[in-house]
């Protein structure tokens, strides 16, 4: 029930799944910045999985009362914008230098039909490699491996020293993520073609096979007893040196920090192995979509919020809290509030954009719409947990799965 008349103070109703912890705090900071612009911030988080949030969104759309803004990312923005009317943000965006300072691929996702209807909020580097300092010390290594060969060699040493080289929780999305990291590290182009464009030839090509082979190698280095667990469950053992490496999005550094572990002392952080010679950035970007409304107060709120979301100030505040990196590439991360890991990722992103090797994550729903992602993920997760499936067989299944959903 809106008690205020139409011309009353601007306000914004927003739903997201970010309710607690760092994410919740970041959203609160967002809210504070919006409030300072005179907008009443009404955040209604739907905690839990993304699907739960989307169910809520769907129910609200069905009810004819979508929120003014909601969390949404990747190709889903396009899919959802087809079932509910969205707000055109072109004027607001064009009034700034925003578009010039973000990745073109990313921009495309947020204006699926040419008009800006959504905005990215933050970026995570998915291809981040965390190494246990203790494990590294034990085998006498000081540097993170740069290529898959280096990685394999180091991992073999660790295995020989009684260390489980790879810490892996083994939930579906993480299994898919490990595949995308291997493929991106073998050939970012092949990744773009095979995964992002679902090109059949690329899918059946040698790079994908090589990725599967490397992934099979990785699974042999995973503890057979890790499955169905949140990745964070194994952090203590990783830090103790029982495990060697963890490949996980940049958010893991925030968790480690909260657990009182120090970068450089307890762990090392950097990009995952990369054979291409040029920087690769596997991107997971959270975004916010703005739904159409007839209420003037909400419309005003949306506009003000979009302006905040595009600001440099927001970019810094939001990412510092979350451990992510700004969407804008023109931000200096020298602040003490950032960690080395973030700075490294930001540098990585800029380089990757230049080299045209900034790609979208499959495991995190950035590369494809949900049905496609899920179909591919089913194949990948089964491959990770079933060593009877050969890389060749898996490649065929993956290509076939792509066939059915293309």
């Amino acid at each position: 029930l809106t008690q205020a008349p139409a011309q009353a103070e601007p306000r914004l109703t927003v739903i997201s799944q970010w309710s607690a912890g760092a994410e919740g705090a970041a959203m609160d900071a967002f809210g504070k910045m919006v409030t300072e612009k005179g907008v009443k911030w009404e955040h209604s988080p739907v905690s839990g999985f993304t699907t739960d949030m989307m169910n809520k969104l769907r129910a609200d759309i069905i009810a004819g009362k979508p929120p003014a803004a909601s969390q949404l990312k990747g190709p889903e923005i396009k899919a959802w914008s087809a079932i509910g009317a969205t707000v055109n943000l072109n004027d607001v965006v064009k009034a700034t230098d925003y578009e010039k300072n973000i990745s073109a691929d990313l921009a495309k996702i947020h204006k699926p039909k040419g008009d800006w209807i959504a905005l990215p909020l933050q970026i995570y580097r998915v291809n981040t490699l965390f190494a246990s300092k203790k494990a590294m010390d034990k085998v006498g290594a000081t540097e993170l491996p740069k290529t898959w060969d280096e990685f394999n060699a180091l991992a073999a040493k660790m295995a020989a020293a009684g260390i489980t080289p790879v810490a892996h929780g083994g939930i579906g999305w993480a299994d898919a993520m490990y595949f995308e990291l291997t493929l991106a590290g073998i050939s970012a182009d092949a990744y773009r073609k095979a995964i992002m464009e679902l090109d059949d030839k690329a899918l059946r090509g040698p790079e994908v096979l090589a990725a599967f082979k490397q992934l099979r190698q990785l699974t042999k280095w995973m503890s057979p007893s890790n499955a169905g667990q949140h990745w964070s469950v194994f952090l203590p053992a990783l830090m103790k040196g029982d495990y060697g490496f963890l490949m996980m999005g940049g958010w893991a550094s925030g968790v480690l920090k909260k657990g009182n572990f120090e970068e450089g002392k307890d762990f090392l952080c950097g990009p995952t192995p990369n054979n291409t010679g040029k920087p690769v950035f596997d991107m997971n970007a959270d975004g916010m979509i703005f739904w159409d409304t007839k209420n003037a107060d909400l419309l005003a709120g949306q506009k003000a919020t979009a302006q905040v979301a595009m600001s440099k100030e927001f970019a810094k505040t939001f990412t510092q809290i979350n451990g992510s990196i700004p969407v804008r590439t023109d931000i200096d991360l020298a602040d003490a509030g950032f960690q080395d890991c973030q700075r490294d990722a930001a540098k990585n992103l800029a380089g990757a954009i230049q080299a045209n090797q900034a790609i979208m994550s499959l495991g995190h729903n950035m590369a494809q719409t949900s049905p496609v992602t899920a179909a591919l993920r089913d194949v990948l997760t089964e491959f990770v947990h079933n060593d009877k499936i050969t890389p060749e067989e898996a490649q065929k299944r993956l290509a076939d799965a792509a066939d059915t959903v293309r």
Partner: protein, 288 residues
């Protein structure tokens, strides 16, 4: 000879108790794990394991979980959400029980053609998976103008709950002698009066069973709770989800454990104090 017999009997008793206690341990272990975790800090759990004995018993988790943990910028812990859950669960439980009793009464004591079929259909309702009903409910709530209201959630739980309550109550009422209805008719009582004055006072055993069943189910439900509520009006299960199921964060197992225990307290108490009546009610003919 008598000696030997009593010895073996004693051996049997010891074995009996050993088995019973072993199972008690099996049932209690998870609870104990959660209780222990609720006294451990995030750092402690992160640095050791989710299973372990607390280095020191800290009450922070409980304090935070109850009153200061931040969910969506509101740092009041889960306590306000407990109240929401009560506002949903209590009316939904009572109404669905009452309506189920009414249905059971109608279907068992006012036998009419098709009563069996109607009962069969209503009973089939208990098998419908929740996921399947999510979108139809969204549409229904929209049409009724109850989207994102507590009343909407109550309605959902009442209608869905009727399947179970009708099942339980009807099976209980078929054992009520038809003569009672006849006597009341001769006395001049009408349909509702017979139900209210004669049948309902007979029903506490089965009502306790349905109330416990419904209350537990509704209290623990989260899919509808998340989807059909909004803002600070969410049930406690939705608030609990804020503590779990994130990809980018390590779970706050300590606070989560304390919250789970606090959130489960009403249902646990219901079983603790109602359990006896639960079994008694079942004995009285709930099951057939």
């Amino acid at each position: 000879m008598v000696e030997a017999r009593s010895l073996s009997a004693r051996g049997g008793r010891i074995l009996l108790y050993a088995i019973l206690i072993a199972f008690a341990a099996f049932y209690l272990t998870p609870l104990i794990v959660v209780i222990l975790n609720s006294f451990r800090s995030f750092q402690e759990i992160t640095q050791t394991s989710v299973l372990g004995f607390p280095k020191e018993f800290r009450l922070d988790n409980w304090v935070q979980a109850w009153g200061s943990y931040c969910i969506a910028g509101i740092c009041s812990g889960i306590s306000p959400y407990m109240w929401n859950s009560l506002l949903i669960a209590v009316p939904a439980t009572l109404i669905s029980t009452l309506l189920g009793a009414m249905n059971g009464y109608l279907l068992s004591l006012w036998r009419f053609r098709g009563a069996g079929l109607i009962f069969g259909i209503i009973t089939f309702g208990v098998f419908l998976p929740a996921q399947m009903k999510l979108v139809p409910w969204a549409i229904t709530l929209r049409d009724l103008g109850l989207s994102n209201t507590l009343a909407g959630l109550v309605l959902i739980h009442v209608v869905q709950g009727m399947s179970f309550t009708t099942l339980f109550c009807r099976n209980y009422y078929v054992n009520v002698p038809q003569d009672l209805i006849k006597a009341a008719k001769v006395d001049g009582a009408g349909f509702l009066q017979i139900f209210w004055r004669i049948i309902l006072p007979l029903s506490p055993p089965i009502l306790i069973v349905t109330v416990i069943w419904q209350f537990t189910g509704i209290w623990n439900e989260f899919l509808y709770g998340i989807t059909f509520s909004e803002g600070s009006a969410r049930p406690v299960t939705a608030a609990l989800m804020a503590l779990s199921a994130n990809i980018a964060q390590a779970r706050e197992y300590g606070i989560e454990s304390a919250s789970v225990l606090i959130a489960a307290l009403p249902t646990l108490l219901v079983y603790l104090f109602g359990g006896k009546y639960f079994v008694r009610g079942l004995t009285a003919g709930a099951v057939k």
